[in-house]
Amino acid sequence: MAETVAYDPLGSAGTWRRYRAKLVIYTLLGLFALYYLLPLVVVVLNSFRDLSDISRNGLINLPHSFSLDYWSLAWDKFCVGGTCAGIEPFFFNSVAMVVPATIISTAIGSINGYVLSKWRFAGSEVLFGLMTLGVFMPGQMVLLPWARVLGWLGLTNSTTGLVLIHCVQGLSFTTLFFRNYYVNIPDDLIKAARIDGAGFWRIFRKIVLPLSPPIVIVTVIWQFTNIWNEFLFAVIFSSGTHQPITAALIALSAGGTSVHQYNVESAAVLIAALPPLLVYFFGGRYFLRGLTQGAIK
């Protein structure tokens, strides 16, 4: 195996120097790992500690107490903005927003990408360029118009309104993802199918869709994490019991003068962070691919 590796960056050094270099490398990696893991470890530990333990020994400390109660308190009993039903209703608001928005925007993006890569027509490249403009649009530019449009449609302060916003906003991303992926499907494959008499939808179903799972996963992960974590639209276009979890979390942890219940708040924070984290741990490869495409293109 060693021979097939292109080069050994430390190969030119002597044994002692190589050993010392390794030590430096792993120490640095470890220190950085500490910086990245500290917040996570602190919240996880604090979600199990009782308040007197936290106030006596500080937030950043090993637990001297252990209880699972704070998770259940955070889930359906803790008071957020006047209602005492925990984070659960907001969690499900987010689910009710993210699931349809992800499915719809991914499905439409896939068909758009198919048209823009395999059924090009005069001007379709220009239209594609136009659609990608949506990727760069800062949220602030569309806040007032959205407020108006949601009002006209009777969708103010509703999950449906947020689904609509995320579908329209996500369309540019999903179309871009699918189009750039489908461009690599050989045109001959499509041509052959057309000669065999297959039409627009048949080719899509029989040829393009079966080749799509990787890009579908990338797109779904991208849309899911973005919409779940989104805050600006969430806080502006929803209030009270209709808020998604990100907006509710701010209301919960920034709430007024009351003494902070760090254990319950930690559990709530973790519940809010869990869905995208799970997606990340199980779909890491696809997560990163979406990120690089979404961020750079």
Binding site: P39, V42, T246, I250
Partner: protein, 315 residues
């Protein structure tokens, strides 16, 4: 073109009166399928933007009022003290954030590139912050940086009683806590981008340099890093974009405070539009954010297109 006529064969066999229309519709199917999305994007990109521009030029305050009032909201915006704090913060934050995230990201990428063990584990650790929302990140870091609960109190408990780390509540230091948190969130991503770049450098070039007797730092400086120059630009653009749009992180971390010390343009826009009923000035500020983004993205797009075309020409 040839394909289309083949597709249409079945329609020709059925002798119905509406045939030409159906035929035409079938031929137009791709355009028809695309039309709703195009319309939505068109409205979103052009109509909504135009709308916001109009509002910025109008007399709107609490409610929209579409009578034009000219550019005086822009003038007001630029003479506003909060706005000057907001954009000063943005300049300070984005320069430190970009430099910090790039430095840490590049360091991590180079370290991982030394054929370390358990590479996947290190990468997973460095990259997970990106899966976590700014709201969660900001909330947790607020606890860690708050002098009464976080790092300061821990160090004091360890015995260093006069230790001070209270940037979060200091007017002139609070913006640096936003920098620390922002870097925590983004540097893993920068690492991933740089690592992909480092891996794409032709290993023969490096080998040749090693045979010539160059040491590793020199090889990195002279060969590897110049080879991934375009990635530096891409990372810079991505980070600047993040920085300009920064909103939730600051809300969750400092709430824009203490006082208004960590206000950034995105927060200012939100405040004017939805808290203070100064719609027109808020719209003007939103357009400034849009212009700042364009200032970053338009040259970048032109540059990438130019490079692509050059590559095509060179073959």
């Amino acid at each position: 073109m040839a394909g289309e006529s083949v597709t249409l064969t079945p329609a020709r066999v059925t002798p119905t009166r509406s045939r030409p229309l159906r035929e035409r519709l079938t031929g137009m199917l791709p355009q028809l399928v695309l039309a709703p999305s195009l319309l939505a994007t068109f409205v979103y990109v052009f109509v909504f933007c135009g709308w916001t521009v109009w509002i910025s030029l109008s007399n709107s305050t609490l409610m929209p009022d579409y009578s034009l009032s000219g550019f005086h909201h822009y003038a007001e915006l630029w003479s506003n003290r909060r706005w000057s704090i907001a954009y000063t913060n943005l300049f300070l934050f984005s320069s430190l954030y970009v430099i910090g995230a790039m430095a840490i990201g590049l360091t991590l990428a180079i370290l991982i590139d030394q054929r370390v063990r358990a590479e996947a584990l290190w990468r997973t650790i460095y990259l997970y912050p990106l899966a976590v929302s700014f709201v969660v990140t900001g909330t947790v870091w607020r606890w860690l940086l708050s002098p009464s609960t976080g790092i300061e109190s821990v160090v004091r408990q360890l015995g260093w009683a006069s230790f001070k780390f209270d940037w979060l509540v200091q007017r002139d230091m609070a913006i640096y806590t936003v920098v620390i948190t922002g870097i925590w969130q983004a540097s893993g991503f920068v690492m991933a981008l740089f690592l992909a770049g480092l891996r794409s450098v032709d290993p023969d070039l490096v080998k040749a340099a090693q045979i010539d007797g160059a040491n590793m730092p020199r090889i990195y400086r002279r060969i590897i890093l110049p080879a991934i120059g375009p990635i530096f630009i891409a990372v810079l653009v991505v980070l600047l974009q993040f920085a300009i749009k920064t909103f939730d992180l600051v809300i969750a971390l400092t709430g824009g405070g203490p006082g208004i010390a960590t206000t950034v343009p995105a927060i200012y826009v939100y405040d004017l539009m939805f808290q203070r009923g100064q719609m027109a000035q808020g719209a003007a500020a939103a357009i400034m954010i849009f212009l700042a983004l364009s200032l970053v993205l338009v040259p970048y797009t032109i540059w990438t297109n130019w490079r692509q075309r050059r590559e095509v020409v060179r073959g």
